[in-house]
């Protein structure tokens, strides 16, 4: 074996970005669809819809103050957990080394699911006495999703639910302390703050932004094959 022939390869064989063949018009859509399918996005949407329906049904019931305050938080945590589970990749390394669009696909998926969940949960509370209202839903959901995305980057997509569900317990406790002193007033426990509290909204937005940035760039810390 000699190295000679290799030197004779014409330079034009190297891929030229400018001369790249035009992408078929529906390739982007197909890529998005395949990515969504690989991440079980349809199942996540079904789970989010189930959370919204569950919240609506639960709001029909009679709850005392504790129950009425904690109820939306439980379903928000469920929707956030469903979103974070979609970060798990069944393909692993091969996808990471070949997929140039992967960060954008992750970003689009997470943003779209969060928006859909916020819309669905807010719609579920329309016309009912939901504690906090749509602003609360948006803030709590975004913050818990952020925690879940960060968990996905550390523990993997499969165990990412630990973030929103762990925060659910902390948030429910925060609500509890509003009646049983000492009350938690830190904005980092945003479910215990009023919907218009700026500090709580900033904290939730910060966690969501960091979570979505980390998961978009790095992806979930997942072994292939699950």
């Amino acid at each position: 074996m000699t190295a000679g022939p290799a030197h004779n390869v014409p330079a034009t064989a190297a891929p030229d970005r400018r001369a790249r063949p035009a992408r078929p018009p529906r390739a982007g859509t197909r890529l998005l669809r395949l990515h969504a399918a690989s991440r079980r996005v349809p199942a996540a949407i079904a789970a989010i819809a189930a959370c919204a329906i569950g919240l609506r049904i639960a709001l029909l019931g009679h709850w005392d103050t504790y129950g009425a305050l904690q109820l939306p938080l439980v379903f928000e945590a469920g929707a956030a957990a469903a979103i974070t589970v979609t970060t798990a990749s069944p393909i692993g390394e091969p996808e990471r080394v070949t997929g140039r669009w992967l960060p954008f696909l992750r970003l689009v998926t997470a943003l779209a699911l969060t928006a859909a969940a916020a819309g669905a949960l807010a719609a579920a509370g329309t016309g009912a006495q939901m504690a906090g209202g749509p602003l609360d839903v948006l803030r709590n959901l975004a913050g818990m999703t952020g925690f879940g995305l960060l968990c996905a980057a550390v523990l993997g997509g499969g165990l990412a639910w630990a973030g929103p569900l762990g925060y659910l317990v902390a948030g429910a406790y925060g609500l509890y302390t509003q009646w049983h002193r000492p009350a938690l007033t830190t904005p980092w426990i945003w479910p215990a703050r009023p919907p218009h509290d700026l500090g709580a909204a900033v904290c939730a937005a910060l966690v969501f932004s960091v979570g979505i940035a980390v998961i978009s760039v790095r992806g979930a810390h997942d072994p292939a094959g699950e």
């Binding site: 789970a47 439980v74 499969g158 630990a162 929103p164 317990v169 406790y173 094959g225």
Partner: protein, 507 residues
């Protein structure tokens, strides 16, 4: 073809011993590769945030901290344990190794049992660590009593049940969404099932987050004058153990096709578990609020627990000693300080109490979820007379700081002590009311002149203005030097109490 003489094989290990060793190895492998290990920091962090901090903010009373720990620890562990167990239960299907492991020597139930046992083991280790931390610190702070193990046992029995139910769900519906769904459902069921509790005779009290009458909440007055009743805890442990057995038995049932001998024992275990759980629910329904503030279940009740605990009271060195149950030692200095001005006014008067003593509270179930709490026995009893009082937090309600307790003692027990000495109350003469108001004023009690005498039904009294002549007499009497006032009272208190002194006769 040649035949090679091989050395005789070593004697095979007895089958049972080999199986045990293999089982232990399987368990060790599962312990090393269990998701619950990853969830332990989450559970411990939640325990610290929601339970440990809350318990440490409470007074160092074993009953208070133990009941707070039972419900708090369970809510802190529910999501991590249920999620991890469901995640482990769905592992074979998720990793597409179900067919691969089906052909191994270990039957499916043995593999599943090892996975469940490893998950439960780590959960229990984490829980016991949390209990040890909380109880260890409480042991250093508490002035009297010892650790209550039944609340800790309920928490420990909850983890296998929770883990088994979640593991079964993960096995039956293996999906990456199963773990969060199961964790959410478990939290929802535990945290919000208490909404269904209605009074003390509710089956829902079987929920392991319930430690006593649900609408009273953690009550500092419980378990100090009488033993902590284990009745409800016993029923809860019975329910949780039954649930664990039923789920594990049901998990082994479908596998009986491959292991025929297993089918019958699995069915027996599942049935026994269901029976135990059902019996426990029925027992919880027979529970009722006892006079000491706990849930008593007749079939599980030990009458010996109804006897009051004997304790050496801790007393202050005030003019009249203030004596408390030793569990409340930390409240003695503020209580004594709050009552000192009143006690100085009435000390050595004829009929003045020889001691101010803390009493036990009596609980009565009202309509629905309401519970009334009052003092057991009369305000004044014995010879020499002893004045009995409740500390404000014994009446349940929001947590109080030491300063708030002192202020409440001052405004409730203070006027009541004065009234008991002077004879103020319903039917009192104007002179009695004026002298009582004067003593309250000179002791610096709030709204002393306007407030009427407290009664047992209205321990803090109502704001009822005294008639103008009585107000004037009260101000005149209060303005006297303390020694003159005291000397007059020594001479005339008996006549005043019997109603033979008029307003005009007051100095």
């Amino acid at each position: 073809m040649t035949v090679v003489r091989a050395p005789a094989a070593s004697r095979p290990m007895p089958a049972q011993r080999g199986q045990l060793r293999a089982g232990a190895r399987l368990l060790r492998l599962e312990l090393c590769h269990n998701a619950m290990l990853w969830m332990l920091p989450v559970a411990a962090g939640l325990f610290w945030f929601t339970t440990y901090r809350k318990a440490m903010a409470m007074p160092p009373l074993w009953n208070l901290r133990a009941s707070t720990m039972q419900s708090g620890a369970l809510l802190a562990f529910v999501c991590p344990v249920a999620g991890a167990a469901a995640w482990m239960g769905s592992r074979e299907a998720r990793r597409h190794t179900a067919d691969l492991v089906t052909i191994t020597a270990r039957p499916r139930w043995a593999r599943q049992f090892a996975t469940w046992a490893a998950t439960t083991f780590w959960a229990t280790v984490g829980y016991l660590g949390c209990v040890a931390a909380l109880y260890g610190v409480t042991a250093q702070q508490a002035h009297w009593g010892g650790p209550l193990w039944w609340p800790a046992a309920v928490g420990a029995a909850s983890l296998p049940a929770l883990s088994a139910a979640a593991f079964a769900a993960g096995t039956l519906v293996p999906s990456r969404f199963t773990a969060p769904v199961v964790a959410i459902v478990a939290f929802f069921a535990l945290a919000l099932s208490t909404q269904l509790i209605d009074g003390s005779q509710s089956s829902w009290q079987i929920s392991p987050v319930v430690t006593g009458p649900w609408d009273v909440g953690p009550d500092p007055g419980v378990g100090t004058f009488y033993r902590y009743l284990p009745d409800l805890s016993i029923a809860q442990v019975m329910f949780l153990s039954g649930l664990t057995l039923a789920v594990l038995g049901a998990l082994a049932l479908p596998n009986g096709r491959g292991v025929p001998w297993l089918r019958r024992p699995a069915a027996v275990i599942a049935t026994a578990g269901l029976l135990a759980a059902g019996t426990a629910v029925a027992l919880a329904r027979t529970g009722k609020l006892d006079a000491h503030g706990m849930i008593a279940i007749p079939a599980l009740h030990d009458a010996a627990n109804d006897r009051p605990l004997s304790y050496p009271p801790v007393c202050s060195h005030t003019a009249i000693p203030v004596c408390l149950n030793p569990a409340y030692t930390s409240y003695l200095p503020p209580t004594a300080a709050a009552l000192t001005p009143v006690l100085d006014e009435i000390a050595s008067l004829p009929g003045a109490p020889a001691r101010i003593s803390q009493a036990a509270a009596v609980y009565r179930q009202g309509r629905g979820t309401s519970v009334s709490i009052s003092m057991a026995g009369p305000l004044l009893s014995g010879t020499p007379p002893v004045f009995h009082m409740l500390l404000p937090f014994q009446l349940a309600g929001p947590a109080m700081t030491t300063g708030e307790v002192a202020a409440a003692v001052r405004s409730t027990a203070g006027p009541a002590i004065v009234a008991s000495v002077v004879g103020d109350g319903p039917g009192a003469t104007p002179a009695q009311r004026a002298v009582a108001a004067a003593l309250r004023t000179s002791a610096g009690l709030p709204e002393a002149v306007l407030r009427s005498a407290p009664t047992r039904q209205r321990p803090s009294g109502a704001i009822v203005p005294l008639p103008v002549p009585a107000q004037a007499a009260a101000r005149r009497f209060a303005a006297l030097p303390a020694s003159v006032r005291h000397a007059w009272l020594v001479r005339h208190l008996a006549a005043l109490r019997s109603g033979r002194i008029t307003l005009a006769q007051l100095p």
